[in-house]
């Protein structure tokens, strides 16, 4: 298929042939004030960071061209992350990847840091279809009795189903929970580490729903996504 097929008539700029573009996989952190930026707004931040950095993105054709940027898994508002993944289609042949990384970091807003840039095959499956699970570290900001919490966790894990309200429907959270552990932490702090599903087959397990099941306040907890696991680990940036 030629890229010219879907071009609007009269467009004076011929689109680049598909081989003149590269699909970059970017691993990045999102933290600090940027935690309060939604998934949707993050796409605009990336578009503007790329433009400032002088890295030309590939745009869709038509009256309302959008840059071709795919984020792996939406990070809920208020969460930090050390492990987000993004695919960006970039104009040109084989860019100097360390240079792209440096430039993006130089022009990124506070709270956005690129850790790795690699290239992936243009035809490889969409990132959203590749995810398997995510790990979260949760710092609980309320006073909790440690053994009692451990007891609640054990009882949750012993259940075969855990129905919770998610928006307007009931979902079973149990198959989405892979692990929950209380982490060693300083005396005045409580840390929970959990691994929850993010996959097209099982669905997405949200840590805030888990906290509610544990009678903890998800709105005052400090939640960081610390690992995003792909079904095929070789695909990670």
């Amino acid at each position: 298929m030629s890229a010219n097929n879907d071009q609007s008539p009269g467009d004076p700029q011929p689109a680049l042939a598909p081989q003149d573009r590269v699909r970059c996989r970017i691993r990045f952190q999102k933290f600090d004030t940027l935690r309060y930026t939604s998934h949707l707004d993050l796409a605009s931040i990336w578009e503007r960071t790329f433009r400032r950095a002088g890295v030309q993105l590939v745009y869709s054709q038509g009256f309302n061209p959008r840059p071709k940027i795919h984020l792996a898994a939406a990070l809920p508002l208020g969460y930090a992350s050390t492990c987000e993944l993004l695919d960006a289609w970039v104009e040109g042949l084989l860019p100097d990847l360390p240079d792209v990384k440096d430039r993006l970091n130089h022009f990124a807003p506070p709270g956005l840091v690129v850790d790795a840039v690699s290239t992936v095959d243009l035809r490889s499956p969409a990132l959203q279809t590749l995810t398997h699970s995510a790990e979260y570290e949760i710092v609980v900001r309320e006073t909790v009795d440690h053994p009692a919490l451990q007891d609640r966790i054990d009882r949750l894990l012993a259940e075969s189903t855990l129905m919770v309200q998610k928006g307007k429907r009931q979902v079973d959270l149990r198959p989405l929970i892979f692990s929950i552990d209380i982490e060693p932490a300083p005396a005045d702090e409580l840390r929970i580490r959990c691994e929850l599903a993010i996959s097209q087959q099982l669905g997405t397990g949200r840590p805030d729903l888990l906290l509610s099941l544990l009678d903890l306040d998800p709105l005052s907890a400090d939640i960081t996504r610390t690992a995003l696991k792909l079904a095929d680990p070789a695909a990670a940036a």
Partner: protein
């Protein structure tokens, strides 16, 4: 209010950490945007909090504050940080937890700044200003604040009639702020060293051109409530207070802050021209921003280039009151489209005249088809067009509309106003007929897919315009006219928008208000009025109660025609256009006479005689023709 105060940096952050996820759009309250500037507080002498008294996503894109942010932060010994008004959910958390209003950059309480500078572009923000003061822990009235608290200054379009807000603001800036903001900041830095009272500080500041300190001017009223005269407290105070202008437009700001959340305008704004020569009689901006000053094409193109590089924005808006009147508009559009047509940027050019060349302009900017094509005829009959002095023959409008549709646009947006002086129901009905005729032009090209969106505002007489003497329509008159439109402007592809007449009343009341409205605004705020520009928050009954608590009547301010020789509450504020000129223009409108564009001929509005010697137009840009008496 809570007795607890969380005013240190750590305390503020603690309260935010506990509560940000409990409010709508927490990104409003955290700052951290690209290009925002955090300076070391111990290394500067003067700290200014710049405030747009609305929620973040409305205030953030404001160009005026962006200009001051850049000017002040460029000074090595000064800093400026931003403050917006928290939404109602955040307000209650702040009040409960004793969290004071704080700046986004370094999260310092507003009360720790030297100056709080508030921009007030429109009157519905008045109660929000009181809210800003209150959340900052400051007394709302100027008289109750002392020199241990920030100096509170205000500017912006609504301040050409500062009187309704005179009780609350220490000093107003009249006119353009680019130069005077630094003069105020510099003078205030010196005054700070001298341990003066607030009264003495203000005495000094009142010496700066364009600064109006309301406590030094006393209106003396006649029986019946109109003003007899305005008396300055001392003979050395300026009377009138002349607005400030810049003789040449300084380069536009280019290191604009890029927000981390969606705002009402996500774009680079570049002002291509200030002022307007058209003389539409209802237009406050057209009268108060004279004279016309244009930026050279090269400066604009350079500014766009720099701003895109430093922000990464995908959209540029070329701003002015009347883009078609910019002398080199074709060259500008050619240069801009040559640079940017293949860079996935969209360039918008609002305020185009209704003529075929406008269609050419927008077409060369390419992707503008995303929006609709917008025209503002304002009225639909010859007599109304003559009255308001905005004459576009209907046939010309139809021809241009056909051309717009023919070149591919499917939607035309039209802006009309009802309530013009002397308007009849037939004049209103003509809006329906004209809108349908325009759609008929579209149907020749697009059949059933041709759309017309009609926005019908209500005319509000504004100070410093030829219509400042005019009575506004009553709620009943407006409702009758709107009902006619709602009844008749119907059909596939036709959409009508209008404003609630009660909300229009508030703007009418405040626009031509006097100082007696100060207690009314304070009372309305006590009755929980704020966010008056938000339909769902506007509480008309509370405002009416506030008026009656002060023994004042709405009719006096809105529906009362003013005699030719009435002294207005804003007469001691001089925006350059003389009252004599405005009155002559008003009298012409009553006779159905129009006045031409003053690009072609000078009508002696007063600007040139007051400011002419200071103007230094850049080569190739427009300048006023010589004055004719």
């Amino acid at each position: 209010m809570s007795a607890v105060s969380a005013s240190t940096f750590d305390a503020i952050n603690h309260v935010l950490g506990q509560n940000l996820l409990r409010v709508e759009k927490p990104g409003r309250y955290v700052g951290g945007e690209y290009n925002s500037i955090r300076k070391d507080w111990s290394a500067v002498d003067l700290k200014v909090a710049l405030c747009f008294p609305e929620v973040y996503e409305i205030g953030m894109p404001n160009l005026g504050l962006a200009i001051f942010y850049e000017i002040l932060n460029t000074q090595p010994d000064m800093l400026a940080e931003r403050v917006y008004l928290p939404w109602i959910d955040m307000e209650s958390i702040m009040r409960e937890s004793g969290l004071p209003l704080y700046s986004l950059e370094t999260r310092h309480p507003v009360s720790e700044f030297d100056i709080l500078a508030v921009t007030i572009p429109y009157e519905q923000l008045y109660t929000n200003v009181l809210q800003v003061l209150s959340l900052s822990g400051l007394p709302i009235r100027s008289r109750d604040r002392d020199s241990s608290m920030p100096l509170v200054i205000a500017g912006g379009h609504a301040c050409t009639n500062p009187e309704p807000m005179a009780d609350f603001i220490d000093a107003f800036v009249i006119g353009e702020g680019e130069e005077v903001i630094l003069e105020i900041a510099d003078r205030f830095r010196q005054l700070k060293q001298r341990e003066l009272s607030r009264e003495d500080q203000l005495t000094e500041l009142a010496q700066i051109d364009g600064v109006y300190v309301p406590r030094f001017y006393n209106p003396v009223y006649k029986e019946g409530g109109t003003i007899d005269y305005i008396e300055p407290a001392r003979p050395d105070l300026p009377l009138p207070v002349m607005k400030r202008i810049v003789s040449v437009l300084p380069p536009p700001p280019t290191r604009l802050i890029v927000p981390n959340i969606d705002t009402v305008h996500n774009r680079v704004p570049v002002e291509i021209m200030r002022g307007c020569t058209r003389g539409c009689r209802f237009c406050h901006a057209g009268m108060t921003t004279r004279p016309v000053r244009e930026r050279p094409v090269d400066d604009i193109v350079n500014a766009i280039e720099q701003a895109i590089g430093s922000t990464g924005y995908e959209e540029v808006a070329l701003l002015s009151l009347s883009s078609s009147d910019y002398t080199h508009i074709v060259e500008l559009v050619d240069a801009v489209s040559a640079h940017y047509s293949d860079r996935h940027l969209s360039i918008s050019l609002p305020s185009l005249r209704i003529e075929s060349s406008s269609v050419d302009l927008l077409e060369s900017l390419k992707d503008s088809k995303r929006g609709g094509f917008t025209f503002a005829p304002e009225a639909a009959t010859e007599s109304m067009l003559n009255t308001i002095n905005k004459v576009i023959p209907s046939q010309q409008l139809l021809d241009v509309a056909y051309e717009v549709y023919r070149r591919g646009w499917r939607t035309i947006k039209l802006y009309f106003m009802i309530g013009h002086p002397g308007e009849t129901l037939d004049d209103v009905r003509a809006i329906v007929d004209l809108s349908k005729s325009i759609q008929a032009e579209g149907r020749k090209v697009h059949g059933k897919k041709a759309n017309v969106n009609v926005s019908v505002g209500t005319f509000i007489p504004k100070p410093h315009t030829p219509f400042q003497w005019v009575a506004m329509n009553t709620v009943e008159q407006i409702t009758e006219k709107q009902n006619l439109l709602k009844r008749e402007l119907r059909g596939g592809g036709l959409r009508l928008r209008w404003n609630r007449p009660e909300e229009t009343m508030l703007e009418g009341l405040l626009s031509r208000g006097d100082r007696r409205l100060g207690p009314v605004i304070a009372r309305a705020w006590e009755l929980d009025c704020r966010f008056d520009a938000w339909q769902e928050h506007y509480n008309h009954d509370a405002w009416m109660q506030a008026l009656s608590d002060s023994d004042l009547e709405l009719d006096f301010y809105t529906f009362r025609p003013r005699p030719d020789d009435e002294v207005f509450p804003w007469d001691h504020i001089d925006v350059g256009v003389s009252k004599r000129f405005l009155l002559r223009d008003y009298q012409m409108s009553q006779r159905g006479e129009t006045r031409g564009d003053c690009r072609n001929q000078c009508y002696a509005c007063g600007i040139l005689s007051k400011y002419g010697v200071r103007l230094k137009p850049e080569p190739g840009t427009w300048k006023c023709p010589p004055v004719e008496k």
